[in-house]
């Protein structure tokens, strides 16, 4: 399986509110609130760190979840945000815009 890289789209609006990230899509103004786990992934989405590494180093230790299940949840989350243009996904590192 090739690594997956994720990066935040620069066209969104976002702010941390308490322990949740509020994200607004520029494309359709849809508003999302990310739970603490999703917020952790979001904050780690630098375009250079593979998703699997994010899950292994930031999600599993902090939220005490099994790597396989955590990766599956993370992939679903990433797909959902990518479909709204909020996250960029690639099998290559993503350069900053």
């Amino acid at each position: 399986m090739s690594p997956r890289y994720i990066a935040r789209n620069s066209n969104i609006a976002a702010r941390l509110l308490g322990d949740e990230m509020i994200v607004m899509s520029a494309r359709d103004s849809t508003l999302f609130t990310l739970n603490p786990l999703a917020t952790e992934i979001w904050q780690a989405a630098d375009g250079r760190t593979p998703l699997a590494e994010i899950v292994e180093t930031r999600i599993c230790p902090k939220f005490e979840v099994e790597p396989a299940a955590a990766y599956q949840d993370a992939e679903a989350f990433v797909e959902q945000l990518a479909s709204h243009g909020i996250l960029l996904v690639s099998d290559q590192p993503i350069e900053p815009a």
Binding site: S10, I12, A13, A14, L16, L17, G18, E20, S29
Partner: protein
Amino acid sequence: MSSLLDQVAAKALALGVPLSVQLDLTWRCNLRCLHCYLEHDGGAELPAGAFAEILDQLAGAGALFLVLSGGEVLLRQDFFEILEHARARLFSVKLKTNGTLLGASEARRLRALAVQQVDISIYSHRREVHDGVTRMPGSLERSLAAVRELRSQGVSVRLVDVLMRQNVSDYQGVQALAAELGAAFVVDPTVTPKLNGDRSVTALRIGGSTLARIFRDPSVVGHVGEFCAPPPPPDEAVLNEYPCSAGHTACYISPCGDLYPCVQFPLPCGNLRRQTFAEIWRGSPALTQVRAIRSRDLPVCRQCANLSRCSRCPGLACLEGDLLGPSTLDCEKAHARTSIPPSLAASR
């Protein structure tokens, strides 16, 4: 069921976060609209660097929704520098402009910067009426050209129609224009006194019977039966509510850095050249005073059956001389909406 935005607002309220901020970059304007509440001449303006610092502080305080307004924002040569900084800090930006200085290149830049929405004031579909309000010949043509440029770039546009005696009969024409241009449309019957206290502009306000007719137009209010239904008597939950978000999750910053609870709420809270945003937001006695007020503390309004349908503006009440009193404009609006007169409402 509350919307996600309602839930976010409730969380911001609980955390004391200024979720929404209006930032006026200038009070200068190239139009001289009949109803404008601003003095356009003179007045200090912060440089772009100072606004950038304020934006950093606002982002740090948790502000997400930013309205950049004026005056006419495009009169500032450094407008895009400020906007770029706001977007780099991931604000959701809405822009208020008259559009007369907005051409193809500005529209492209607004699109590239992912501005959420541009509000452009259109007072009539008829040149003589719109230009009569703005007192600038050719302004309707130029504003509509801006709308077309923005729409061609895919930028969301909303036509804002402030209703006055001069133009109220034309709102359906503006509404049709908005549909033709692919823009949203909203009417606003609020004509506020000038910030210097001059109330003469309020003579432009439309009468209650006209407002009642507009409030029964489903193309404006949606479901008329729901919108105009007499409200249930105020219960404990309603009496414990804050009158509005001003000073709680929203605030206004003037071109010289003065901070107020809202653009319509002339209660000075501090100045951002002398204090940080956090110092004012957390420590201003004026904001503390505003935040202490619940609906039950309003001696007249708490007895009014229209309370839960009323959009009472504490700023307009303040302009009328009593922070805890009614805002008569909102009394009229609530009356037009529910048909329950304020006097009767107050005695029920």
